[in-house]
């Protein structure tokens, strides 16, 4: 390699400027803002410095509700999506015909706008004319007030989110399955190992890194859920705020109640959660590399 020179920075300049202005500065600024009581974005004024915003945050029952809902969302969506995706990916991988066809179909939700397709799900969840209640009616189940009753808001959101999140997982698992050497399967066939044993003893262990990766990425994404809520409940957080999530809470404080400091404090809490998730991911992938 040639000698070091600062020329590299000329190439990096555009990215560095954008990164400083729109990533690093706002990060520091958000942390600072979270310690300013009654901060106003319009003229930059504030009344106090300290933990007031955090006190407000942890006194607010809506914030706890948003934490609880987000946790329920993460716990339901991520494992269900991983398991279903794993099943579908293994089946697609076993297909001789239509492999490309199924892959194309199953990946479709990934590329579509959450907002637009959320509006369609809203229509399908409609309690009087929705397709879902009609289908349930065929099995003798009474119409469910999916979007109008607090107890059904989270289930509706979770069903929509599982549908949306499977595409990415299936893709990652399919890519992982292709790296498993065919020889192992052939050996298992010669030994006439039962299919289920092949699945639990060969497929799942070989895919373990991808499963961990998908889980962490899925968890990080699920902690940041917002667009799904917005589109399914037409800009609201479900009946009586029953489907309020952390990010929804932050944006609501910021955009509708003008409580910038509290919103910033909420976003710092979110940041810490995401940071913890990322540390788990780094730990796990680090171990993978060691092995």
């Amino acid at each position: 390699m040639e000698k070091k020179s600062f020329k590299g920075y000329i190439y990096l300049l555009p990215s560095i400027i954008i990164m400083i202005c729109f990533t690093l500065y706002p990060l520091v600024r958000a942390i600072v803002m979270s310690f300013l009581g009654d901060y106003s974005i319009i003229n930059g004024s504030y009344k106090s410095i300290g933990f007031d915003n955090y006190k407000d945050l942890f006194k607010d029952p809506d914030f706890f509700k948003s934490l609880r809902n987000t946790s329920i969302y993460v716990i339901c969506v991520v494992p269900a999506s991983i398991c279903l995706s794993l099943l579908i990916a293994v089946l697609i991988n076993n297909c001789k015909k239509f492999k490309a066809f199924f892959q194309t179909v199953y990946f479709l939700p990934y590329v579509t706008s959450v907002i637009a397709i959320g509006i369609v799900w809203r229509w399908m969840f409609n309690s009087n004319y929705g397709l879902i209640n009609y289908a349930l009616g065929l099995f003798g189940i009474e119409p469910i007030q999916w979007l109008n009753r607090p107890e059904y808001a989270m289930p509706a959101l979770i069903i929509f989110a599982i549908w949306k999140s499977m595409a990415f997982n299936i893709l990652i698992f399919l890519a992982g399955l292709q790296t498993i050497p065919e020889d192992i399967y052939r050996a298992a066939r010669i030994d006439s190992t039962p299919r289920f044993r092949v699945f639990t003893r060969i497929t799942v262990p070989s895919l373990a890194p991808m499963i961990v990766y998908s889980s962490v990425i899925g968890m990080i994404g699920a902690f940041k859920v917002y667009n799904e809520v917005f589109s399914l409940f037409q800009g609201k957080a479900g009946p009586a705020n029953s489907a309020i999530t952390i990010v929804y809470y932050i944006y609501d404080k910021f955009y509708n109640s003008y409580k910038y400091g509290v919103a910033a404090a909420g976003s710092v809490v979110l940041f810490l959660i995401i940071l913890a998730m990322t540390q788990i991911q780094l730990r796990v992938t680090g171990e993978k590399k060691k092995n």
Partner: protein, 279 residues
């Protein structure tokens, strides 16, 4: 093969395709339902049992929806924002990836680590202060506000750096001997050799810009500056119970991306897989 074995294999085969077909129907159902609802009459929408296809496709629903709100304007805005953002991303990504993969400069490792570290910051956290910045810059209600913050992506830079690293170093050294400048080498050799990866990044970015929702909603006030996804949500409130029109409008937002996907899915899948398996 014994008969018993044969039977088991047949059952397994049927079960396999059965599950796959059921899952595929579940996956495409919202899309099919969106298209079918957009072509129905109001009476057909609420008919019980619901029909999968309308008796006579009501194509004029699209005309009505298109005329009911300035969708043409929204379309142009979305196109401008998407194309400008993507061009910006490609320029900054290629330049940065080249610097990280081939050039030697002091602090390179630190800067690269810093870029990677920014991937851990949730964008949701930055929106509040970025909104403040846009207000202070007096950029509210402008294309710049929707484009500039998004023209650089640490993730794509990381992705492309890995592709650039795979190009043999000897090519670079040979070019140096021939007195080829770094910039010329980047344009003439690095970019053409990695055009598939760059193309994948472009398409992925087109999709995410096209679908962007919250940021454009925050930084625009006037109807003239609205993008499609924001216009759709506004239209949903205005159109109220005209579900067929709302579905037609949703189709307008979703269909261009689905068409791009069906034609270029190889690049999209390749890009997402490479990005996903970075470990």
């Amino acid at each position: 093969m014994t008969t018993k074995r044969k039977v088991i294999n047949t059952v397994a085969g049927v079960l396999k395709y059965g599950i796959l077909i059921f899952g595929a129907i579940f996956t495409v159902l919202p899309f099919v339902w969106m298209i079918s609802s957009s072509l129905k009459t109001p009476a057909e929408l609420v008919a019980a049992p619901p029909s999968l296809f309308p008796e006579v496709p009501q194509w004029e629903n699209y005309k009505t929806a298109w005329a009911a709100a300035p969708f043409a304007r929204y379309f142009v805005n979305t196109l401008i924002v998407t194309l400008c953002t993507t061009c910006g991303v490609l320029v900054t990504t290629v330049l940065s990836a080249f610097a990280f993969s081939r050039l030697n400069f002091p602090g390179k490792k630190t800067v690269f680590a810093l870029f990677l570290a920014t991937l851990m910051i949730p964008g949701e956290m930055l929106i509040i202060t970025n909104y403040e910045t846009i207000i202070n810059l007096k950029w509210i209600d402008s294309y710049k506000a929707m484009i500039v913050p998004w023209i650089s992506s640490a993730f794509y830079i990381y992705l492309l750096t890995r592709f650039f690293m795979q190009v043999p170093e000897s090519l670079y050294l040979a070019a140096k001997v021939d007195k080829c400048s770094d910039f010329k080498y980047m344009i003439k050799i690095m970019v053409p050799m990695n055009k598939q990866a760059i193309f994948s990044i472009a398409i992925l970015n087109i999709i995410s810009s096209w679908n962007a929702f919250l940021w454009p909603l925050l930084v625009t006030n006037s109807q003239e500056m609205r993008v499609l996804s924001n216009g759709l949500v506004r239209f949903q409130t205005e159109a109220g119970s005209s579900t067929e029109l709302i579905m037609a409008a949703s189709c307008m937002l979703v269909m261009p991306i689905i068409i791009i996907y069906l034609f270029l899915r190889k690049y999209i899948i390749e890009g997402v897989t490479r990005g996903g398996l970075k470990g």
